[in-house]
Amino acid sequence: MSAVLPHYRNPVPPILFSMALAMLLTWLPWHGWALALRPDFIAVVLLYWTTHTPHKVGISTAWFVGLLADVADASLFGQHALAYSALALGSSIFKRRILMLDLSQQTMQVFPLLLVNYLVFAAIDWVAQGHFAWSYLPGCVTSALLWLPLTLLLQALSRPRAPKADSL
């Protein structure tokens, strides 16, 4: 594993830190249209780590993080968990394709995955509550838009002094 990522520092502290920060951002008291436009911070951060460090963050981590999100959101137990594990599965399938493209093109590759994440979440809502949560759809778009700044930020975080040489 260490041979795979020669320049990287131990990725665990940035992972934990960014996850915690994403959760805090999600728990801020959002209201009205700000809530409708709120990006799914946790999903984007998860997606970043599942694509960039798949050996550390996988479906099981995504599932557990989803469970925490369920508690915080008072949504059904397993709702976020299922959505995030679907997201992690998607990223494990498409991670090569995403990382192959440069940053500006990645947004369009990430959007479908986030859409699937949203659809799983909304489908569970639909089955359990009987209405479709349209109100979260714009948040899906803003999540995809968040990908670019977040990637830049987290890359800066995870390898502060690494040479430019990407192992890609």
Binding site: V4, G66, L67, L82, L89, K95
Partner: protein, 301 residues
């Protein structure tokens, strides 16, 4: 490319689809258990102890901003406010003395008729610490939980009327389901003529509906609906809603009646939790006392 294609000398665990299938099944199981049996509340309790302090800390800057704004009220507005309150107090005290006389008279009459006394209830003041983000399920969280002897099923009201019912209690907070929530039902009676009916939440914060009331029933626009106290959960005589529109369509057996809730949930920070109610004697056929939150089939008469 070696980042994305790990060398498979050693097999590490199961392939992603298998893992996903496992976790998907696990989540499905949790979902079904949560929806059907609601037995996961203890796990929620445990995790909420971890989550809740963080949430409170996060909402702190916003609430302190609110407090600061209140602190910076101008003097004139305070004077005006206090005058208004004084006037209100004067008129209220006159009505209150009248009410005391009426209460005494009522008590005497009830004694004469050997009716049960109206149940007394205590109340606890609680503060809203957190409003749920889901647009359809507008639940709110109060800062009193099991530590303040709050139990699921207790009634929450503001100064005007019924706000909702406690549905989940955590160690340091409790979750309130609003009367306007979808399929939340409150047994009420019309103040004007005592007609008993049930008012249902519509999922919209401004509206309640009365569903299964015949077209011919005597309900008028502007009628005040009070809790009837028949279910033993809501104490009698608390205002719930006012009728704002009635549609009587002869082709449909029931009238469509739209009401507006009296309580103003999204305006205040403080609410009252009614505790210490004396329970009614057990009904002849005891119903399973689950909180009226989950899917419940309403039998059409």
């Amino acid at each position: 490319m070696d980042n994305a294609q790990p060398v498979r000398f050693f097999k590490r665990g199961y392939p992603p689809p298998v893992r996903f299938a496992f976790f998907a099944l696990l989540s499905m199981f949790l979902l079904v258990v949560d929806v059907r049996f609601r037995t996961l509340d203890t796990i929620r309790y445990g995790l909420s102890v971890l989550v809740q302090p963080v949430q409170r800390a996060l909402s702190l800057p916003f609430s302190s901003l609110h407090d600061a704004r209140e602190y910076l009220y101008t003097q004139s507005s305070l004077i005006r406010h206090s005058e208004e309150l004084q006037r209100q107090l004067d008129s209220d005290s006159a009505r209150l003395s009248q009410l005391q006389a009426l209460t005494a008279e009522n008590l005497q009459l009830r004694k004469l008729l050997e009716l049960r006394d109206r149940a007394e209830f205590r109340s606890q003041l609680a503060e809203i610490i957190y409003a749920e983000k889901d647009v359809f399920r507008r639940r709110i969280f109060l800062d009193k939980g099991t530590q303040a002897d709050i139990r699921a099923g207790q009634v929450v009201m503001d100064t005007n009327g019924i706000v909702g019912q406690i549905t989940r209690v955590y160690p340091l907070m409790s979750e309130v389901t609003l009367v306007t929530d979808k399929d939340q039902a409150v047994p009420v009676e019309v103040l004007r003529n005592g007609l008993r009916t049930v008012v249902f939440g519509s999922g919209d914060i401004d509206h309640l509906t009365i569903r299964y009331t015949p077209v011919s029933s005597d309900i008028q626009q502007g009628d005040l609906l009070m809790t009837s106290g028949i279910d033993g959960i809501y104490p009698p005589g608390l205002p719930v809603a006012r009728v704002i529109r009635i549609e009587r369509d002869a082709s449909y057996p029931f009238a469509r009646i739209l009401c507006a809730p009296i309580a103003e949930v999204d305006q205040y920070r403080h609410l009252l939790i009614l505790t210490g109610q004396t329970p009614l004697p057990a009904a002849p056929e005891p119903l399973p006392d689950e909180p009226a939150l989950g899917k419940r089939k309403v039998k059409k008469p």
